[in-house]
């Protein structure tokens, strides 16, 4: 049986490829690889949809947030399920479940993005200090990171919320803090690997300043895995937001819809009204899946082994 030699297989030879037009950076080449990956596209679409839903929640939701117009229909033994006017039924407080889920996307997205960005910023800074400054800084920073890593991330987040008080700000700080060691470790590791690269030796042989070498040679070549991790961490952050709310540590305005809190409310009525749990549960699942698929797609696109 002969294997048809498709153009993409023929590119094993290091000749010019379609990626290799003048001015095509590695990042752009990675982008082109990513948009050919169906899983990455699916992830990107989910993330995009999630973001749009969060931003345009007031336009998309049939009813406003926290409107509990159907309170009269809710009895201790019965919560109305899907019916005319309430696509997924109403929740235990008489609010439209579908609208609540849509508004819940806002909380998850804001907290997830802000806390991951915070974790990334602090973690990357620590990583650069550890990976770029030298042995002493490396030892000090990494021992601190080791201590942070020795505490399970959710437990760390729970303790921070407990200390700082139950506010949305402290939830963000808590989730960010739990992510700091992951980013610090990852960035430091890839920077150390890059420090032995030939072009870093070459840069040293040309008398470039250390700062230049770290910032313009070592760092940009080390960012790939960190960006991938940030995307994957968004998924974790969304789950952790829900988990903290589920544990009653979510903070924030109780009138604001929040997926984790919706799950708590649903749990003791799970036998009679499973739709109360499925709605927010599936929302958490799909949004986390979207970020995970996108992250995996990014990883494949940025992985040097994927390049020829």
């Amino acid at each position: 049986m002969t294997i048809p030699l498709e153009p993409q297989h023929a590119t094993g030879v290091p000749t010019a490829r379609d990626d290799d037009e003048p001015g095509v950076s590695l990042w752009r080449a990675a982008w082109r690889r990513m948009i050919r990956n169906p899983a990455a596209i699916a992830g990107a679409l989910i993330v995009l949809a999630f973001a749009l839903v969060a931003i345009f929640a007031p336009l998309l939701a049939p009813y406003s947030e926290g409107v509990q117009d159907w309170r009269g229909d809710v009895t201790p033994s019965d919560v109305p399920g899907p019916r005319d006017g309430n696509l997924l039924g109403v929740d235990r407080y008489g609010a439209d479940l579908f609208s609540q889920i849509i508004y819940g996307a806002r909380q998850s997205l804001i907290v997830g993005v802000v806390s991951t960005a915070g974790g990334l910023a602090v973690g990357a800074l620590l990583g650069i200090i550890a990976g770029g400054l030298g042995k002493m800084a490396d030892t000090i920073v990494m021992r601190i990171v080791d201590i942070m890593l020795s505490i399970p991330s959710l437990l760390l987040a729970v303790s921070i919320v407990a200390v700082l008080g139950q506010e949305r700000k402290s939830v963000m700080i808590a989730i960010a803090a739990a992510q700091v060691p992951i980013f610090a470790r990852l960035l430091r590791g890839s920077m150390l690997a890059q420090r032995n690269a030939d072009y870093v030796l070459a840069a040293n042989s040309l008398g470039l300043r250390r700062r230049t070498i770290v910032m313009s040679h070592v760092l940009p070549n080390s960012l790939g895995p960190t960006i991938v991790q940030a995307t994957l961490n968004l998924a974790t952050a969304i789950i952790e937001v829900a988990a903290l709310s589920y544990l009653g540590l979510g903070g924030g305005d109780l009138a604001e819809a929040e997926w984790g809190r919706m799950l708590v409310a649903a749990q003791d009525r799970f036998d009679e009204s499973p739709q109360l749990a499925f709605g927010p549960g599936i929302a958490i699942l799909i949004s986390a899946l979207g970020f995970t698929l996108l992250g995996e797609g990014l990883r494949d696109a940025l992985d040097p082994k994927g390049r020829r």
Binding site: D20, G23, L206, G207, L208, S216, P220
Partner: protein
């Protein structure tokens, strides 16, 4: 922006006294590892001395592991500080670089001495355009606005005969062929008009036709700029075309030192002789087997028990296995051998 501190410019303006060599390496010794129960020291380079004068081209020849690359890294001060002991003297224009501060070395590197590395595929930063990388080097050692630096970068690419030089500045390394990347590396080395370029096997990673092109370009630019050159290679053909004098290294020591012509006409050390004999020649009859040097380099510590080349040497005498020969000077040549090759009988010119 000037890369180093205040005293940097002094060496530029004060020409060194006449008679002083541009680079003078004295008894260079590089030892890896610490002496302990678990670790054995490895002497990578020992008793290496050579001089390079302005505009002179020196060839350092030897097979893998002979210490030639370590020598060049030691001269540049680029060996790791931990676990490596470097002793001897590396005098650059009279200044001992081995005792110079790291800050001072950063000012010297790239401005006074530049290096061209072996593998053009990995010696360029993949995420920066070659224009950026050229400008970075130019701007790190002198004050230039970015427009002037960009112009200079374009000129450098033209100097190394880069096709379509103006447009190449915006290219990333992966868009260039190996030969073009090596030209970029040569251009980067030339960026600050160094007085000495160390080329560490600059053509090894290239295919043969490109090797010739790149060598021709290198030869041209060092001739045009009057830059001194240390060419590190295992390829005697490269040396023959480029170098004024040659040091042949074996197992970390110089075994033969000579100006180019006498070395090629009358190689005296059996190792040099074997290297020359092993080069395939066009005038050898078809079917004739090649002439290899038997065996392979043994232990790096092997100079402690006589001559390291003795196990592979056709001229071996008893003395070779007793004590290591010293490098004996005679006229312009030096030789580390008890029983050198005699040339009345050999007839190289035939």
């Amino acid at each position: 922006m000037v890369g180093g501190g205040g005293g940097d410019d002094s060496s530029d303006s004060s020409p060194y006294p006449s008679g002083e060599m541009l680079l003078s390496v004295r008894d260079l010794r590089v030892v890896f590892g610490r002496n302990s129960k678990h670790q054995r020291q490895v002497v990578a380079v020992d008793e290496v001395s050579f001089d390079v004068d302005r505009g002179q081209h020196l060839g350092l020849v030897g097979e893998s592991g002979s210490g030639k690359s370590v020598t060049s890294l030691a001269v540049m001060g680029l060996l790791p500080r931990r676990g490596v002991k470097v002793s001897g003297e590396v005098l650059f224009a009279g200044e001992n670089l081995l005792t110079a501060s790291e800050r001072r070395m950063r000012a010297v590197r790239g401005r006074d001495i530049a290096m061209i590395f072996q593998d053009p595929m990995t010696s360029l930063n993949p995420v920066l355009t070659i224009g950026t990388q050229l400008e970075e080097v130019i701007e790190s050692h002198r004050k230039l606005d970015s427009g002037a630096a960009r112009k200079k970068a374009g000129e450098l690419l033209e100097m190394v005969a880069m096709p379509d030089a103006g447009h190449r500045l915006k290219d990333y390394p992966h868009q260039l062929s190996g030969g073009m990347r090596q030209r970029v590396l040569i251009a980067i080395a030339l960026a600050n008009e160094p007085r000495l370029i160390i080329a560490d096997e600059p053509t090894t990673a290239l295919d043969v036709t490109i090797q010739a092109q790149v060598l021709e370009i290198l030869k041209q630019v060092v001739a045009d700029t009057g830059t001194a050159l240390i060419m590190i290679t295992h390829d005697l053909g490269v040396v023959a075309g480029l170098c004024d004098s040659v040091r042949v290294m074996y197992q970390g020591r110089v075994v033969e030192a000579a100006p180019r012509r006498p070395l090629f006409a009358e190689p005296r050390h059996p190792y040099t002789n074997g290297l020359l004999a092993s080069v395939p020649r066009l005038d050898t009859p078809r079917g004739e087997p090649l002439t290899p040097i038997p065996g392979s380099p043994t232990d790096v510590l092997s100079w402690s028990k006589g001559c390291a080349f003795a196990p592979r040497c056709p001229n071996r005498v008893d003395e070779c296995e007793q004590t290591a020969p010293r490098l004996e000077e005679s006229g312009a040549r030096s030789l580390r051998c008890y029983n050198p090759v005699e040339h009345a009988r050999r007839g190289v010119s035939a």
